[in-house]
Symmetry: C2
Subunit: 681 residues, 2 copies
């Protein structure tokens, strides 16, 4: 059992590194008084939002915990609460670090790019390291307490983490786009003041949104996949190890290794992430994008080497190579998906260029073009997911490893370097906010130019890490699907059966429906908020002249209330629909439901994220001076496209990953009840 | 065998009725000289398009026929050619009738609504009756020649019909929207002349588009489902009858009845359609919408009664009730789907009203709203499809009928009244064109008001018939999926197998990809055509003053060439992708591919069609005077939404039905080869 100790050790190292980086960021100078004021307002708004979100979340968690306690047991309920608590704490801590890093990176930009980069990056790394550290620590703790016989308790922990993810991703997503759209529509379009202008009552809400939606939400979303993928692989590993034990093919030690291997691989991923981060620093001339990528690649290589060593010495013999190759297949597929997806949203590639050009003939053609390229962009990741699934399956099978376990390990491999991925990803909104703060506090053109370069690097890093996230979510949820089958005790999900086809249809319907509900929520919230912003401009005397301050807090509060209210229906749908299908149509139909939801969840998630990215960059391309530049008709058309894309890429698209994970977890957690009480067996 | 004779008799009656109605429409007065001129130009353009389309189609059909001849046999190749020839002839004939009816309905509108309605409706009925008649005649002829042992030959016939459908729907769809967008963007937006203004060089192309896209394309699309659903049910029926014969449970006569029952049900549907059309006439005061609906409902009731009688006297005993109830389940589900879908695109319902209201805050919010409601609108049809599948399955099973046969029969029931459905559907573009001709020939406000009422009735009829079409396509393609399994000899398509999941993912990717390619095709074509329309306005002297005529023919020709060129890639994709999956990943993976494509095909098809409908009606609602009416900012925003919706609802959305049918047919036709030569068994 000694090998297992590297897991909590990795968790602790990760948390310790996060604490050190938090200290490092806090120590930096937080700039002028005006900058500190803005930062304080952002912090206040973000804390207010999170406080309210966490109260609502607490009620939600309490209700679900009671249900789990009644239908299962006290331990399950406790693990659920523990899961949501751990991830909430980590993501709160990460967000505070990000807010600190915003203003400090902005201030460091006054000294130059080389000074600003580490502040922004390590600010993001606090989130990355603390969240994977606490997740791994939590899972290993539960494993120590309950042992391999009670993996369902860890499933409860994962379910708890997913509750936070759902709230943070969907709620934060509604919040951030409500604020963004209102700020832009009234400020830029109607009144004609620049973006991030402090006179705009919605500007603080917009900045808050970047932190609660992009930083906290994104971290919560990925950690959800991270934990779920680990426990799914453990469940599948145990099922396979049980068969091997049954036929006396392995020893008791090997048995345990097969169960905890997913944890071990995740632990090596943490070591690799911490080491890989050192590579972000070692650059001579300031190319922040290259520095970030170097960090990502270094992490992957270190991870591959470490994993090989760990598996080699774990004593599982011939199975080792199959498992290692499956891990590698997942890792490589993740990178390829990231790089190819980047093509469709890069500012210098045909999809974005053509979308920008289409703005010449108006908003409609711009929108049709961005929509279409977004849809076409699903091809490389879908092919990548298919290739990763087939490769890890056959590589595993070649060496006698259970192929389903191979796929699950592929997913583990893809997400193992998550510490680094989240760090690079969280860097993006920090750089974005640093730029915003530089503009609002009037730091001058040169400083803004530095923050611009920081910001641009964030976009590339984000594209690659997004690829990882999507690929990993897909593979991981396929592993969850297989884990569900193990838990519920079915060996086939046959599409020739009408209830399975019915399940597939209903499951496929849910993700698009959820995305539509989220977009409608943004629309109806923004509608109310626009009225409030207009009212403040109309009624507060001296606001336009910059003599008085707008009532930021009121707008922040409206965005908060609205987002949490609108969150209810999607959350209920994500939890109730799999249960309804399971209890009414049976366990095999629920398998079909999960498969259907995975497929459309991934397709809608990808196309919405990438269409949004294409419209966003097409607008930026025009703003850089092409097709008439800023203020031209083409620019106006592109702004419309970008606004359509906002809730696509920042609310609906990224929420779908979480939704499909939540639904798969609901199915797995409630599997024993469904197996017993379903209307149809 | 005598019972089978009612099938060709029904086909002949249908064709005879179509000929009579063609004679009736032709006999009507075709109006003023100017009207005749316009009509001649439309006819010329449409014939030019169809001629070129049919030449391209002939080459395509010849190539595929040679392939079929080499890999299968001479008979298969011949049936394929025969299938494409029959449907091409029928849809050409129907389109000529529609063009004749356009101008004559417009002229009849000068006398009043009661005079115009029968002209427009019977003009559409020529398409409806000729196409179902010739289809049923063709299928029964092949059955007479080849007998129940060679149903694969009829599959070849169906495959041939689907080739036309693919060309007519996708090619016609690209054509019509290229012309529409160019005419609107240059004419209405840039130059500021009214819609349908004869000075616009693209106006004839636009009118032509209504006929080739909406009339000919739609007819071809539905007939494709009609034939494919029939042959799928026959194949499944035969497989079941074979088992029953094997265990001596039925006589040779019953055996034959079970195989030909789908044909018999379709025949009763034709009788019901011909009789139901008489009800369209019998109205006192002119409410054309109610008259059309009365016709549809009457057809359904007559069909139900006739089917009961036919099944009762067919001598299949106890199975009869199960089969009848399955038919009824399909019919009722089709109606419910139609009525509920109508809710999301009706001009007086919340989805459209809110989408119109969202235009107040700009095009972006209008687009987000229409998009979201379009996505939400998938819920009733998906639930309807699921209910129909489960109901027909269990009703059949209750009476000892093979449940898969039950689902197939449900699909047959849903589409049996297609003669009436197409007639009501083709009425829509005829009324639309009649209105256009009235405007272009300056018939005055009163006449235009009459044509407006004709047009509005067409929209309601279209919504209901569209519901039928979507539900039927879904159920029918599920039946094809089952038929594929029968042909290829698999009894399960297990989602727990990685190659099946891979197939599902790839299959699910194809319909969205196809829709994106079609939209991009419209975009790039419209881009070129806009330049040409602008050039004509710029270079032809006296055009704006109405002294000289624009070069209509050049624009028509450009639209034609462009549409056919862009058609190639989607067609190849639809044919090659199932073959690639089948030969590389095996027959079970291809089953997964089909299931995946059906699910996303239906979801994307529905949401695109209904989003487009919602935007269109939101614009019309504003034009009727709300939120500032025509020319207001809200109206401009709604026009952008409507333009985005054009290729959604008239190109990509409706093409997807055809695409998934074609892919399922490709799989079924090539099933024997795939079973033998696949890389993985």
């Amino acid at each position: 059992m000694e090998l297992l100790t590297i897991v909590p050790v990795a968790g602790l190292i990760s948390i310790a590194s996060a604490l050190y980086l938090f200290y490092y960021v806090s120590r930096q100078d937080s700039g002028t008084k005006k900058m500190q004021e803005i930062s304080a307002a952002i912090k206040e708004g973000a804390t207010a939002y999170l406080k309210r979100q966490n109260i609502t979340l607490a009620i939600f968690v309490a209700v679900v915990a009671v249900i789990l306690g009644i239908f299962f047991n006290f331990h399950m309920a406790l693990a659920y609460i523990f899961g949501s608590l751990c991830t909430t704490l980590a993501s709160y801590f990460g967000m505070i670090a990000a807010i600190k890093a915003n203003v400090r990176a902005s201030n460091a930009a006054r000294k130059g790019l080389n000074q600003a980069l580490p502040v922004a990056f390590y600010g993001g790394a606090v989130m990355g390291l603390s969240i994977v550290g606490i997740a791994l620590l939590g899972v290993s703790l539960l494993y120590y307490i309950y042992g391999p016989e009670n993996l369902d308790i860890i499933l409860g922990f994962s379910f708890g983490a997913s509750a936070l993810a759902l709230f943070a991703k969907a709620g934060g997503g509604i919040y951030t786009k409500t604020a963004d759209i209102s700020a832009d529509l009234v400020g830029k379009v109607e009144i004609g003041i620049p973006e991030d202008d402090p006179r705009n009552p919605a500007v603080i809400a917009d900045n808050v949104g970047d932190n609660v939606g992009d930083v906290a939400g994104m971290g919560a979303d990925l950690i959800d996949s991270y934990i779920a993928g680990t426990i799914a692989a453990m469940i599948i590993g145990k099922a396979w190890a049980d068969t091997l034990m049954g036929s006396n093919e392995i020893t008791a030690t090997t048995y345990i290794i097969l169960v905890i291997l997913p944890l071990l691989i995740k632990a090596t991923g943490i070591f690799a992430s911490v080491l890989g981060m050192l590579f972000v620093r070692t650059r001579k001339r300031g190319n922040p994008g290259a520095a970030l990528n170097r960090g990502t690649f270094a992490t992957c290589i270190i991870f591959a080497v470490l994993t090989f060593v760990v598996i080699h010495f774990s004593g599982i013999g011939d199975y080792g190579l199959g498992i290692f190759l499956a891990t590698l297949a997942g890792l490589i597929a993740g990178m390829i998906i990231g790089l190819t997806t980047d093509y469709f949203t890069s500012i210098d590639r045909p999809p974005v260029l053509k979308t920008a050009e289409a703005a010449k003939t108006g908003a409609a053609t711009n929108i049709l073009s961005g929509f279409s390229y977004g849809v076409v962009s699903i091809v490389p990741p879908v092919v990548g997911i298919v290739a990763a699934t087939l490769a890890s399956w056959y590589l595993a099978a070649t060496y006698g490893v259970d192929p389903v376990y191979g796929v699950a390990i592929g997913a583990v491999g893809m997400l193992a370097t998550l510490g680094m991925v989240i760090s690079a990803d969280a860097y993006g909104p920090i750089a974005d906010n640093a730029k915003g703060i530089a503009e609002q506090s009037g730091l001058g053109k040169e400083v803004i130019a530095v923050t611009d370069r920081l910001d641009a690097a964030g976009n590339t890093a984000k594209a690659i890490s997004k690829g990882f996230a999507i690929g990993a979510a897909a593979l991981q949820v396929l592993a969850l699907f297989a884990a569900y089958a193990v838990v519920v005790g079915i060996t086939a999900v046959d599409l020739m059966k009408p209830r399975v086809i019915a399940g597939v249809f209903i499951g496929a319907m849910v993700p698009p429906l959820l995305s539509a509900l989220l977009i409608l929520a943004v629309g109806s919230n923004a509608f109310k908020m626009i009225e409030e912003v207009r009212r403040q401009f109309r009624e507060i005397p001296g606001l336009m002249e910059g003599k008085t301050k707008p009532d930021y807090a009121k707008v922040v509060d409206m965005a908060t209330r609205g987002a949490l209210k609108e969150l209810l229906l999607p959350c209920i749908l994500a939890i109730v629909s799999p249960l309804a299908v399971g209890f009414l149509l049976g366990k095999e139909a629920l398998g079909g439901f999960l498969a259907g939801s995975i497929v459309t969840g991934i397709i809608f998630g990808l196309f919405m994220a990438n269409s949004g990215g294409a419209w966003d960059n097409a607008k930026k391309y025009i703003e850089a001076g092409s097709f008439g530049g800023e203020g031209s008709d083409a620019h106006k058309a592109a702004v419309i496209g970008d606004t359509v894309g906002d809730p696509f890429k920042d609310t609906a698209g990224p929420s779908l990953n979480t939704m499909i994970t939540v639904m798969a977890l609901v199915a797995s957690v409630f599997a024993p009840l469904i197996a017993t009480y379903a209307l149809f067996p």
